[in-house]
């Protein structure tokens, strides 16, 4: 069982994720440079937050064409697990692995806060350790986190239960349908703007996020038995 964390020029949450997977969960973890082409040893791909390629053109637009994303698309098409957090979510939408796009926050400024998040779908391999409709607290830190999709796509997401997380109470960034995170149809791929890896170490006072990594880990182990 191995986690692979993709590292682009400008990624800055890669080590935070490794702190969780290797440091807290004690699982083998490989940092995967964006020029690499092979993910065959990896069970779970994590695309971390940051500012890949300086967010030039659009967030995630250039990272999407890096060699490792081609390998990530193969990984996902093989039914394996992947998660994109913050900039990673933006990259997943640019790559077409998740629908929609993330645009400039409604109120323009970069938001750095802790916000309540409702777990709308606890049936995915990533969220099954949460209660249905449980409200958790996770940090957010983004300037382009406003989820946008056309009405037809939004309706499909809702009909297929692909909305995984919603902002509870105030909508911080103007996301349509208060969307904070979504998944693909099978639930193996999750994209989310909040940072579960920043809410994992008890020393930081909030461990609401670690269940996501524990859940996917259990899922991989179970699939191997």
């Amino acid at each position: 069982m191995k986690f692979g964390i993709l590292v682009f020029p400008g990624s800055n949450c890669d080590r935070d994720v490794a702190w969780v997977t290797q440091g807290l969960l004690n699982k083998p973890t490989r940092m995967v440079w964006h020029q690499d082409t092979d993910l065959s040893d990896i069970d779970v791909v994590v695309i971390p937050g940051g500012f890949s390629y300086g967010d030039y053109l659009r967030c995630g637009a250039i990272a999407r064409f890096s060699p490792i994303i081609r390998a990530t698309i193969d990984h996902v098409n093989a039914g394996k697990f992947a998660i994109g957090i913050c900039n990673g979510f933006q990259i997943l939408t640019e790559a077409g692995l998740l629908p929609g796009a993330l645009v400039r926050n409604r109120d323009l400024h970069f938001i750095c806060d802790r916000v309540p998040i409702r777990v709308v779908n606890n049936k995915t391999p990533w969220t099954r350790k949460y209660q249905s409709n449980e409200v958790i607290t996770l940090p957010i830190a983004h300037g382009e986190g406003c989820y946008y999709a056309d009405q037809k796509t939004l309706a499909q997401l809702e009909d297929n239960n692909q909305v995984v997380f919603r902002y509870e109470g105030d909508n911080p960034n103007g996301s349509l349908n208060n969307i904070a995170g979504i998944c693909n149809q099978s639930g193996t791929v999750v994209g989310m703007m909040p940072h579960p890896e920043r809410a994992a170490d008890p020393m930081l006072g909030n461990t609401d996020g670690i269940k996501m990594f524990e859940a996917v880990l259990q899922q991989v182990v179970r699939a191997r038995v």
Binding site: L57, A61, R64, F65, T93, V103, C146
Partner: protein, 98 residues
């Protein structure tokens, strides 16, 4: 070895947000403009302007490639539309290996 005549073109590419996508930056600039006294300004929307210089055998090939480049990376069709104006700059003789 063979040679062909390639032309250099310049494309002026305009990428704009689809009308259904909110443009909070444009709205903020509009309120600034209105505060300056231009109360008649109704709407401002901000897009991107990109200059691309490329060589192609002819205009049709240049247009085809630019459409691909715009669709794949310069614009995100989920939120944006694009258009471009193409201008021939010069004719260049290029030698290529076959």
């Amino acid at each position: 070895m063979g040679s062909f005549v390639a032309q250099t073109f310049q494309a002026k590419v305009y990428v704009t947000l689809r009308p259904s996508v909110l443009d909070p930056a444009g709205t903020a600039v509009r309120s600034g403009v209105q505060q300056m006294g231009y109360q008649n300004v109704e709407q401002i929307r901000i897009g991107k302007y990109i200059e691309v210089t490329l060589q192609a055998a002819d205009e049709a090939e240049a247009v085809q490639q630019l459409d691909q480049i715009c669709d794949r990376i310069l614009a995100n069709p989920v939120i944006e539309t694009y258009r471009f104006d193409l201008t021939p700059l010069s004719e260049t003789a290029t030698t290529t290996a076959h």
